[in-house]
């Protein structure tokens, strides 16, 4: 059952926030979501509890859980600027009960008469990788648990910096497609990569908030891990391209490099800078009769070199998703594959695995959403055996029934 304090504290904070909001409900858009779960899981101790698991909830967390409590605000600042805040509570042992998963300022000038349009974001937000997490709160409309790729982003990757996108709006000029180019410069994310090397890939929907922590203090693998840190003076960069054919097909490619100095090390906290880079490519296609198909792949490397001893963990992940929406009902099936390799002696941190996710979403209106999801992750993880003495090979099954209620002007 739920640990009381961990649930009540975030709920009280969000309730207070919504009260303030209701009093001063002048924001352009606001949304308050409450997502409760009934969980049945046979998984090993979860990464949120200090273990290594392929899913969010382990067998000790079966029962009634808080999926997410979320408060989001969008406020215009004058004509072309707006601010977006997304705060969430996850009801587990993070050191902050409520935290921001995204917070950014957006500059949104009108399209130029030549058909080009500029967008600039500054703050903390997700780099443009995901093709499935397209709903409010960076959630997936197809399932509860994100793909291995998007789960990794949720756990430890975020842009804290500036991103500019230049779009060519062909569809407004009689063409069938639009083109976009994006570039980003960021910092404070040199922990990204540490989770992959320690725990490998996990399928979750828990998004680490800023100032938050992954796992528990004393976690033998993650070692009090905080992804959002800057340990050297180097900024990361990424660049991406997007092609949209009508509103049916989106093709996205991104090259990402946090350019961290792998020898940077904080002697006070023992935090290490992880030099992480990856390439991502994906396609999403939708049909008029409700079918959606997504294929995405990501390949990269993360490395540290404390004291000049270079260790790296090349990783790759990919998935294919098929979903069918029919009115208020959506059925989806996703297959994920992932692997982490390493040059470490004894293969510390190596992992290989795959997962099946089947979900049924019933969304009778803008306020209610009911989801039933079955997730099975099969993985072979060196660290599961090395750090916890559990069999390296594990097949973990997590069944969730989620009820979400949303309030606010953004839901109308």
């Amino acid at each position: 059952m739920l640990p009381r304090a961990s649930l009540l504290q975030p709920l009280a904070s969000l309730a207070l926030a919504s009260l303030v909001l209701a009093t001063y409900a002048r924001a352009d858009g606001w949304e308050l979501d409450l997502d409760g779960r009934l969980v049945s899981s046979d998984a090993n101790p979860s990464y949120t509890q200090g273990g290594v698991s392929g899913v969010r909830f382990d067998q000790d967390q079966s029962g009634l859980r808080l999926g997410r409590a979320r408060l989001a605000l969008t406020e215009s600042l004058g004509e072309l600027w707006s601010v977006h805040l997304d705060a969430s509570a996850w009801g587990d042992h993070d050191r902050i009960p409520v935290g921001l998963t995204e917070a950014y300022l957006q500059f949104r000038p009108y399209p130029f008469s030549s058909g080009y349009r500029l967008r600039v974001k500054a703050g903390a937000f997700y780099p443009p990788v995901s093709l499935e997490n397209r709903a409010a709160g960076w959630e997936s409309p197809y399932s509860l648990s994100y793909s291995a790729i998007d789960s990794w982003l949720a756990i430890e990757v975020r842009t804290i910096g500036v991103e500019a996108t230049l779009d060519w709006l062909g569809r407004r000029q009689g063409h069938d497609f639009d083109l976009g180019a994006t570039g980003g410069v960021f910092g404070w994310n040199e922990g990204a990569g540490g989770f992959i090397a320690g725990d490998g890939f996990t399928l979750t929907d828990r998004q680490t908030p800023y100032g938050g922590r992954v796992g528990l203090p004393g976690d033998p693998v993650l070692l009090n891990f905080e992804p959002f840190r800057q340990l050297d003076g180097r900024a990361g960069v990424y660049g991406g391209l997007e092609l949209r054919w009508l509103d049916r097909v989106v093709v996205r490619a991104l090259r990402y490099d946090n350019r961290a100095d792998p020898t940077a090390f904080d002697t006070a906290s023992f935090a290490i800078a992880w030099e992480t880079s990856f390439d991502s490519f994906g396609v999403r296609a939708e049909s008029a009769d409700g079918w959606t198909g997504i294929v995405q792949g990501l390949k990269g490397n993360t490395a540290i070199a404390p004291g000049g001893f270079y260790m790296d963990w090349p990783f790759k992940a990919g998935y294919a998703l098929v979903a069918k929406q029919s009115g208020k009902h959506t059925l989806s099936l996703r297959y994920d594959r992932f692997a982490v390799d390493t040059n470490m002696p004894g293969l510390g941190g190596a992992e290989i695995g795959h997962a099946w996710t089947a979900a049924y979403v019933f969304k009778p209106d803008q306020r209610w959403r009911f989801t039933l999801e079955w997730l099975r992750v099969t993985s072979n993880s060196y660290n599961r055996n090395d750090a916890f003495g559990l069999p390296a090979l594990a097949a973990e099954t997590q069944l969730q029934l989620a009820v979400r209620y949303a309030l606010g002007s953004a839901t109308y």
Partner: protein
């Protein structure tokens, strides 16, 4: 543009009045201008009727009377322009109320009318004046999925095809140039221009068949509120 339906009794009163006026005009002005019915039917490349096509008929014989400007309204409901297409005579105005609870920011960078309506809800702005002929594509700077069209015409006769893909009107005898346009049409509008003579019989018919397939219709259901 179809005027709103009037009550039947009023309609027949108007008709009676119309007949009377026609009779008086005939007596006063000598022989009447002879008219015939023109029926334009538009088909897709695979032969199915295409509703919603904008049809315009220009007279090639006599100096045209220009159509009277109108005051039109294009609303925004559930993050969509409603209606998503208006056909208006040049010189008309369009009001763009926003009936949503979220703000919209309307723009057009089409050559025949460039304008923008800064972020708003309700109806804070005066009507927008459209005086140049052409297709004006509208977007919302916040919701990229929103697209609307204002077709500005100087043709004396215009309208849109019905569910059977047909548009009809009574035209004075003479030669006409017919143009059609549809947002999902891939054929160049110039390739589908036709000239025809109305008046050899009481009824002139023209069927136009597109040569290229339509672009797919926009996806109807959008459940994703904040798209990334």
């Amino acid at each position: 543009m179809r005027p709103p339906a009037r009550p039947r009794s009023e309609k027949s009163a108007f008709r009676a009045l119309g007949c009377l006026t026609a009779l008086l005009c005939t007596l006063a002005a000598g022989p009447p201008v002879r008219a015939a019915m023109l029926v334009i039917t538009v088909q897709t490349s695979d032969g199915r009727p295409l509703p919603g096509v904008v049809v315009a008929a220009h007279s090639l014989d006599v100096p045209e009377r220009k159509p009277q400007p109108v005051k039109a309204v294009m609303d925004q409901v559930n993050r969509a322009f409603t209606p998503d297409l208006l056909v208006i005579p040049a010189g008309s105005t369009v009001t763009f109320p926003n009936s949503d609870t979220v703000s919209h920011q309307i723009y057009s960078f089409s050559p025949s009318k460039r304008f923008q309506l800064p972020l708003y809800r309700g109806t804070p702005y005066p009507p927008v004046h459209f005086d140049q002929v052409g297709v004006v594509t509208l977007g919302c700077n916040i919701h990229d999925e929103m697209v609307g069209y204002v077709v500005v015409t100087d043709a004396p006769y215009f309208g849109r095809t019905d569910t059977k893909g047909a548009w009809s009107n009574d035209l004075a005898h003479g030669r006409y140039r017919i143009t059609i346009w549809h947002p999902r049409m891939r054929d160049a509008a110039a390739d589908l221009e036709r000239e025809l003579t109305v008046g050899e019989t009481d009824r002139a018919e023209l069927t136009l068949r597109l040569t290229k397939s339509l672009t797919p219709a926009p996806l109807a259901e959008r459940q994703h509120s904040w798209d990334y």
